[in-house]
Amino acid sequence: MSLLEVDALSKHFGGVTAVDGCSLSLRLGSITGLIGPNGSGKTTVFNLITGFIVKDAGDVRFKGQSIAGLGPNRIYGLGIGRTFQLARIFPRLTALENMLVPVRRTGVRALFSRGQWHDEKARAMDMLAAMDIGHVAGLLGGSLSYGQRKLLELAAVMMARPQLVLLDEPAGGVNPALVERIGEHILDLNRQGVTFLLVEHNMPFVMGLCQQIVVLHRGSVLAEGTPADVRQNPAVLEAYLGS
């Protein structure tokens, strides 16, 4: 069953075509890698799916319903979380507060009350511990190392129990040991039922983790298939290495 469908999505910035009729489909419970050379439109696709920029043409459907035109907070509320290329956390909030920002509330009374923090605090602490950063819960986000920020960002995005998470370079800028740990966390969350779409330049990481790869080139899908298929595709090699 398809969880997310991107249908002929296009986006122009002035005379530059960033995304050009891009279509892809994510199976429920899968881990899909979105790869491509620099400037191929990967992050723009992320921004279009998550409502940060408005499409020029095409459609995005989540669980069969169109989500194109909704704002980022509404899209998150529907169950699509995302992380950013350079780990973005709230630097002047503690790690624990970072975890509580995404907690969802309904109704004005719930919004202004803090009575239900206890369950959520315990869950946030459990999540931090699962990411091996439980010891930094009381520290300000700005004082954490880059690796800890990456883990915190991933942990925080899971607080509202999203069904689909878009990871923008989860292994970018972190040491090999941490890359391995991040991969394990992603697999662990995937086993719990979370579907992932990730943009990544670290090829061993992406090929080892993903069941499906989509290659983007100049805003369009150049190839898609299993990691083995994509690795041997001459068009992909040409796009990456040049003819």
């Binding site: 998550t50 973005r88 002047r92 909030l93 624990l96 920002v101 969802r104 605090k121 009381g138």
Partner: protein, 348 residues
């Protein structure tokens, strides 16, 4: 756990003592000049605290809050005149009406201004303030224009005159503080702080940033409007440049920066330090506006020496001093200070 309870008990006791002292000011000090200073100090405590709900918690610096202050005063004067309310205590009951009218204005201004961010927002709020000032000047049939608007004059004697206004201002300051405190510990308040840190990231984790900013802006403006209403009744006569005075807007921002932006007690501290100092300068050096030089000096001092304001800086200093005795490298310097920690969100 026990030490947390002890700290909490000390805080509540200190707060209770401060409130008792504030309540007793007109009883202890009967000199009308001193009570007059107390009236304006309480007024600025309320104004700075209300401004901080928007400017401090969300990081959206409005330099146009004087518009809400003046609008509240005008709205109040017009409501009293239209309803034929007699001078005395009764007008105080209508202060919330001025607040409600100011909220309506804030919805319109916020709807426009909050489409912008950072420096553009600051400029839009200034422009809006001057537009309100121009309207007050030109809608002569409604506001009296340059001739001003008179309020009913309370029949109280000179010695007692300031006292009811002092209590009204004190009540407004306490209401503002209670709301600020409540917001700060709520999920809503955490969302506001997240917007201050990184608005796009806040959106990405589901914070409805526009609705949150709008709510904070409207609450902040409504409180400022109510304080403006009490002010108008106190001075009994207002005109556009006086009621919608950019210096009021700048003064309260300076107080918040001095005390600590985004903290609960920073605005209180800033107002309690700066307003009496400003009035002392005005009383001793006439109406020379020498206090503006003083304000400029304070602003420079804050930027150079205490960029985060007194409350966070002193808080950090105290933590560093207490941590000096502790074993191992201190992580307290990087833990959440009073600026950021919400009462309910500390690490267990």
């Amino acid at each position: 756990m026990r030490s947390t309870a002890r700290v909490r008990a000390v805080k509540w006791t200190a707060l209770l003592i401060a409130v008792v002292i504030a309540v007793l000011v007109p009883v202890i000090e009967t000199d009308p000049a001193t009570v007059n200073i107390a009236v304006f100090t309480a007024m600025y405590v309320g104004l700075a605290t209300a401004w901080n709900i928007m400017g401090g918690y969300t990081g959206y610096v409005s330099l146009g809050h004087a518009a809400f202050f003046g609008f509240g005063a005008y709205a109040f004067g017009l409501v009293l005149a239209h309803l034929g309310i007699q001078a005395g205590y009764e007008p105080f009951l209508f202060v919330p009406v001025a607040g409600a009218l100011t909220v309506l204005l804030a919805v319109v201004i916020g709807w426009i201004a909050l489409r912008t961010r950072a420096a553009t927002f600051v400029i839009v709020t200034i422009a809006m303030m001057f537009m309100i000032q121009l309207l007050a000047e030109n809608l002569v049939g409604l506001t009296g224009g340059g001739s001003g608007l008179s309020f009913p004059v309370p029949p109280w004697s000179g010695d007692f005159f300031d006292t009811p206004f002092y209590y009204a201002m004190l009540l407004m300051a306490l209401v503002s503080l209670a709301i600020s405190w409540w917001i700060r510990r709520s999920k809503f308040g955490l969302g506001l702080l997240a917007i201050r840190d990184d608005e796009d990231k806040a959106l990405a984790v589901g914070v409805p940033a526009h609705a949150y900013k709008m709510t904070a802006f409207v609450i902040s403006a409504g409180l400022v409007g109510m304080i403006g209403a009490v002010y108008g009744y106190y001075v009994t006569y207002i005109y556009p440049q006086y009621a919608i005075d950019p210096l009021v807007g700048i003064s309260l921002v300076l107080m918040v920066f001095l005390g600590g932006l985004g903290t609960l007690w920073g605005p209180v501290l800033g107002a309690v330090i700066l307003e009496p100092a400003q009035l002392w300068l005005a009383y001793n050096f006439g109406a020379s506006r020498l206090y503006l030089v003083f304000y400029a000096a304070v602003f420079l001092g804050v930027i150079l020496l205490l960029p985060r304001g007194i409350v966070p800086s002193v808080g950090d200093l105290l933590r560093r001093v207490t941590a000096r005795g502790a074993i191992g490298p201190s992580d307290t310097t990087s833990t959440s200070s009073d600026t950021h920690t919400m009462a309910g969100v500390q690490s267990p």
